[in-house]
Symmetry: C2
Subunit: 123 residues, 2 copies
C-alpha cells in the first residue's frame, strides 16, 4: 500500500510517517518513481511506535530499543535488553504515579461534591 493508505489505516498523518522514516523508526520500499510502499507489517510497526510514544518514549529512544533495520548481534541485543528493562521500570513508576494521581482526582471530586452539598444547605 502507499503512504496515504497507511496513514488512513493507522490514524497517523502522512507527515508523521515520513518523519518516522527520517528518524529511522520505520522502513519502506520505494517504487521506481520514488513512492513509498508498505505492507501489513508496517501497520503493526506504526501501531507499535504509537504505543511507545504514548508511553513517553522519544523517537530517539524507540530507535535505540528497536531499530527498524536491525540485524541484531549479541552485543547490541545485550544493550537493548538493558535499555528495555530500564524503560520498563520507568514505565512502571509512571503507572503507579498516574494511579495516585487518579486517586487525587477522585479526592478532588469528593471535595467538590461535598462542597455543593454544603452550598445547597446554606443557599
Amino acid at each position: 500500500m502507499r503512504i496515504g493508505e497507511l496513514a488512513a489505516r493507522t490514524g497517523v498523518s502522512v507527515r508523521s510517517l515520513r518523519y518516522y522514516e527520517e528518524q529511522e523508526l520505520l522502513s519502506s520500499t520505494r517504487s521506481a518513481s520514488g513512492q513509498r510502499h508498505y505492507t501489513e507489517y508496517h501497520v503493526e510497526r506504526v501501531e507499535f511506535i504509537q504505543r511507545m510514544y504514548a508511553a513517553g518514549l522519544s523517537s530517539r529512544t524507540i530507535a535505540e530499543l528497536l531499530p527498524c533495520g536491525d540485524a541484531p548481534s549479541e552485543e547490541n541485543s545485550d544493550a537493548a535488553l538493558e535499555r528495555m528493562a530500564q524503560e520498563r521500570d520507568r514505565l512502571s513508576e509512571h503507572i503507579v504515579d498516574l494511579i495516585r494521581t487518579r486517586e487525587a482526582l477522585d479526592g478532588l471530586m469528593d471535595i467538590n461534591r461535598e462542597h455543593r452539598k454544603t452550598l445547597r444547605k446554606a443557599g
Copy 2:
C-alpha cells in the same frame, strides 16, 4: 518563603514557578518591594500541579479544574466536576494503555532473551 526556597523544596525551577503564576495556576502574595512570598500551602499546590502535568493535563486544563484564586459558585463547581470526571476517564484509559504497553515491552524482552539463547546455541 521566597521563590528560591519554594523552587528548592519542590524541585521546580524558579522560571517555571513564575510561569505557573502567569498561567493562573499558582498564587503568591507580594512584599512591598514586589517579591513573591509563599507558604506551606503553596508547596502542596506546586506538587499538585506537577502531578497534573505528569497526568498529561495542560496548564490550561489545570486552571479550569482548580483555579488558584477560586471562590467557587454552584455553577462553576458543576462544570468543574464534569471536567474532572472527563479527565479522570481519560486518565483511566491512559493507564490501561500504559499497562498494555508494559506488557508489550515484556514481550519484546522475552523475544530478545529467546533470540540470545538461539545465538548462543548457534555461535
